[in-house]
Amino acid sequence: VALIHNIRLTVNGRPYDVTVRSTDSLLDVLRMQLNITGPKRGCDEGECGCCTVLLDGRAVVACLVWAPLCDGKEVLTVEGLGSPENPHPLQRAFHEHLGTQCGFCTPGMVMAAKALLDQNPTPTREEVVEALAGNLCRCTGYYKIIEAVLAAAYGDGDPRVDSGSRSVFPGLNRYQW
């Protein structure tokens, strides 16, 4: 009988030993046991993409991954990308292009974008839209999120990025407030 499992998984480069039930999801473990709350519980059904994390480098919805199956695997959440002092280029671009409003979808968006850029560092706008198709945002209308991903890929000032989407006062939007 295997109702309870002792597993070891690596989250953001740090190994953790946890005890889980068979049907616990990876999201349950991250949020409730490890207190890693970047991945959000939106729909808990794989529809909204808010819990997107990288599992061995592939984007997956953590709410549908059974935790015991993550034994020995490597998980990357938004916490593993960068810090407020030293943000990942994607995080900086989301910030400067105002790709976040309430912020609930942002960790999933950033991780889905990370998975895209890892595979394809020079995506077209259509490829960005396709890569983010599984992530719902109820605030922004998506435009600035797409611009942020393009800006992270190509840099500000590139003709593929809408320069108007950049914050007028990026220096005023400090990361720590």
């Binding site: 109702l3 068979s22 997956v60 198709a133 599984g134």
Partner: protein, 306 residues
């Protein structure tokens, strides 16, 4: 039952009243196919098979399924392959939707299958969900596979059998799999290159089809239809994917001109059995499936799609 609950049931999908964390289950991880089949034979109806888990997890949270034992087959490397031989294209049941959509073999031989796979759910779900699970449950890969005349190999400790996909679906949420059987191979025979697929869904991503038609054609230079296969499906609902045999008979041996196509579309709408649920009404699905059919057929013929 409270009055408002009855109203909800009249207009939307019928879910059991309780949603919540899935009840715990015994999770077994066989390392070989024979071990997996042995476990399934030992546990019978009390066991469920899991690969990607995207469907089973939700069914358990909604109390639609309550297995005591879950046999995880995702470790069976021998079920994860895409290869071609003289019979056609073999697809392993553990291939994920993203792998299927990206495979050059699939894109070359069965472009409608690759396109269907690329449209299902979102990228992060397609990395988990497997072809075998989609086929077993009769979701959105089934209509293109029906049109491609796919054959399944089913294996149990008692032996092995092959079955045309058209004989696999027996009813809503009911297929020919015995409790101790696993799909071990999905064969897409080498077929006619004229293929078309048209899907209507409410959203472009993360949604089931509300109507879907896949067409595979053998047509000569004069536009005479020598053979045709049409698979239709209505996504996730109280129905199951089928071949549209009466519409096929309407087309076979005739020249594919617009009046005939419209007549066949009407026959297809007539013979289809669309579900009436919260995703779309049966009336709408019946209207739209004929349009899907015309578009899929015109795409297979390389004609412009209006």
């Amino acid at each position: 039952m409270a009055a408002h609950a009855a109203d909800l049931q009249a207009s939307g999908p019928v879910y059991p009243p309780f949603f919540g964390p899935a009840p715990n289950a015994d999770l077994l991880r066989p390392a070989t196919l024979d071990e997996a089949l042995g476990l399934l034979a030992a546990h019978g109806d009390r066991a469920a098979v899991m690969a990607g888990g995207t469907s089973l997890t939700l069914a358990m949270r909604r109390r639609i399924e309550a297995p005591e034992v879950v046999v995880y087959i995702g470790d069976l490397a021998e079920l994860r392959f895409i290869r071609t031989d003289s019979d056609g294209l073999h697809i392993g049941p553990l291939v994920t939707h993203n792998q299927l959509a990206a495979s050059p073999h699939v894109r070359e031989r069965a472009p409608i299958l690759a396109r269907a796979a690329a449209q299902i759910a979102g990228p992060a779900v397609r990395n988990l969900a497997t072809v075998g699970g989609n086929v077993a449950r009769g979701y959105d890969l089934a209509p293109p596979l029906l049109a491609l005349d796919a054959r399944l190999t089913l294996r149990s400790p008692r032996g092995q059998r092959t079955l045309p996909l058209a004989e696999f679906y027996l009813g809503p949420a009911w297929n020919a799999l015995q409790p101790d059987e696993l799909i071990t191979d999905i064969l897409v025979p080498t077929l006619f290159p004229a293929q078309g697929l048209n899907v209507v869904r409410r959203r472009k991503a993360n949604d089931f089809a509300i109507a879907q038609v896949a067409v595979v054609l053998d047509v000569d230079g004069d536009g005479l239809c020598r053979d045709v296969r049409v698979g239709i499906g209505f996504g996730f609902g109280v129905t199951f994917p089928v071949r549209a045999t009466r519409a096929e008979a309407e087309l076979r041996g005739r020249r594919l001109e617009q009046p005939l196509i419209e007549r066949a579309a009407a026959v297809l709408a007539e013979e289809s059995n669309p579900p009436d649920d919260g995703h779309a009404s049966a009336w709408y699905r019946r209207k739209v499936i004929g349009v899907c059919f015309e578009r899929a057929l015109n795409q297979a013929l390389g004609r412009p799609i209006i």
